[in-house]
Symmetry: C2
Subunit: 341 residues, 2 copies
DNA sequence: AAAAATCTGATTTACGTACCTCAGCTTTTT
DNA sequence: AAAAAGCTGAGGTACGTAAATCAGATTTTT
């Protein structure tokens, strides 16, 4: 039978009230008594019944999600998943507030973080912009004792409690290996298509990609990254130009959210021989392109997993509980036309 | 504010006891009253607070896991994950009993299922052997109203409530596409290495693999599967023979648990040119082989996810609650040397 | 040594649900 | 019309924890 507070009280020879004071770090317990109670807790292997405690406290976890306003499919999907989590609020005892901030911009994000730091949130999740002022704001949130996880894009270590996103360097390396292996003996140029290299996740993907390309596939030439700002029209123009300029392009790695600009170009003016194309983010469009052979592989991160993981981790941190690390690792999903969900 | 039983009682103009009778399908409520209460429940959007209910019931979920006795790394890992779940029993309100049965054999499994059908378990998870007598036993478990999920290897649809495992046909197809793409222009023979084609998951992987090979890579010749019974010594002998017999082997797909026999052969007598090797199951050995280049890709299913998912689903079924389908989909993990965990 | 401050114990209520008993009512059966 | 059966309400206790109040004990300060 699981020990309860009553067992501890009996075992330590104190009253329930004293056990409660020790457990919840309330004042009014002499040092010696506190030690006795703590020993009893350790000896009996007591663990608080979180469900009962939450019931007694009528606890809800007030969480804040700070999301960039961004109409690309991935961010829209992320937002949808946060909304789905809001829909589960009553059963999960959460109250989730969403703060919208302009994308790729730090001042609004800093303001939002400072609002959180001054508020009563039990935790905050945000898509980080990796800038010094954001790091400072994060430090203030941490100083306020509010658990904090970064979502999708990370912030230089140690400030946040957890990162709910993929390892983007590994993703870039994986894309490079797939690209190189799929190309086999073929020679030519590879063009990476990014949104903006100011964003940490894009930069890391490109770094990983470039590194493996240089190291293992030096017969292929890596062009400088095309920065399409995730803007379909701009991407379409830039990629069109690049393809005209370099007729020997044999590989395209779209590491951002520029697929809506890229896919039409590939479908309307197919190159021959077809280049190997590897994309990030599984959407209806990229899924269809996989099936019809326009593209060769899609790397993906599951926004639903990220949101659910962020909430689980925030809850655990708020309660001072450990997390199952393996469960919270966000994996890089690799999709070929054969293993689409 | 979330509505409670008190709100329903007030709204329906009945007492708490009657609400309780309706909610828990206890007798003693007139049809008309029952309808009134149900309407109030629907109108207020009441959902039972599972945590409070479990507290009141002092509920524990008695689950049974039926696991094959099998010393291969994947099954050992699966067992470890079940034990980890047992370690979390007190916080998760579960009581997990493990029943060991001989691998690949149905009579003991049938006996175990019948024991479950006659017992008081709130759910059962088992690694299915796809045989008629197992299906019959599963039907008896279902008839006893006990939620049931298959783990790792499935049983012909409709009998179980859920399957916590990967789509093995898709896994085979994925392996084939990777193999074909990695080989590029190379010609030669491909040898599949299975444990036993009597097991549904192995059979399905081979089916998916063969199909894509025939369809998209007809310049490659697929040899009949070597059945190594997941026995290292046997695998080593059979694979050695096959490689000697066919010097033009350019691809190996190990779809079972025969890696402990296969890897030593590849490492001690490297072929030249090196064949493309794709394995199932990420272990220390396969991970090391990926890093040193002996093999090219590993397909994996995460045993921890499968066990946790099985428990979540069993709990939900026991409580008559919906599951988040996307959360419970077990994904095929593809590992290259670049995205190892 | 008295007063004040601090510590501790006992007890109670609450959270939302389950489940039990008992009394009183209504309907059905004889 | 009386007896039996079925339905409903009222009220209680319980689950494990939180949190509050109050009284009594101990220590510290004056």
């Amino acid at each position: 039978m699981k020990p309860t507070v009553h067992d501890i009280a009996r075992s330590a020879g104190v009253s329930l009230a004293t056990v409660d004071r020790v457990l919840n770090a309330r004042p009014g317990v002499r040092e010696g008594t506190r030690v006795r109670v703590e020993e009893a807790i350790a000896a009996l292997g007591y663990v608080r019944d979180v469900a009962a405690a939450n019931l007694a406290k009528s606890r809800v976890y007030p969480f804040v999600f700070i999301l960039p306003v961004n109409e690309n499919p991935f961010m829209l999907g992320l937002r949808r998943e946060v909304e789905a989590a809001i829909g589960r609020s009553s059963t999960e005892r959460t109250r989730i507030e969403v703060i919208d901030v302009p994308a790729l911009e730090s001042t609004a994000l800093v303001a939002a973080l400072d609002k959180v730091a001054g508020g009563d949130a039990a935790g905050v999740a945000f898509v980080a912009v990796d800038a010094p002022d954001v790091r400072d704001a994060a430090a203030r949130v941490a100083a306020a004792g509010i658990p904090m996880v970064t979502l999708v894009s990370d912030l230089g270590q140690s400030l946040r409690d957890h990162y709910a996103g993929i390892d983007n360097i590994a993703a870039g390396r994986t894309a490079a290996t797939l690209m190189g292996r799929f190309l086999g003996q073929r020679q030519g140029r590879i063009v990476p298509l990014a949104g903006s290299l100011m964003v940490r996740d894009h930069r890391e993907r490109l770094d990983g990609f470039s590194e493996v390309m240089a190291q293992n596939f030096s017969h292929l030439t890596l062009l400088p990254a095309v920065e399409g700002r995730d803007d379909p029209a701009l991407v379409e123009r830039l990629i069109g130009e690049t393809l005209r300029q370099h007729p020997d392009i044999c590989g395209i790695y779209s590491l951002g959210a520029g697929n809506r600009g890229l896919l039409p170009v590939l479908e309307q003016r197919p190159l021959s021989p077809a280049p190997v194309v590897i994309l990030h983010e599984l959407t209806e469009a990229s899924s269809a392109a996989l099936v019809n052979g326009t593209i060769d592989a899609v790397l993906n991160q599951d926004a639903g997993h990220e949101v659910r993981s962020a909430i689980r981790v925030l809850k655990a941190k708020a309660d001072g509980l450990p997390v199952i690390a393996a469960q919270e690792r966000i994996r890089i999903d690799i999709f070929l036309k054969d293993n689409l969900p």
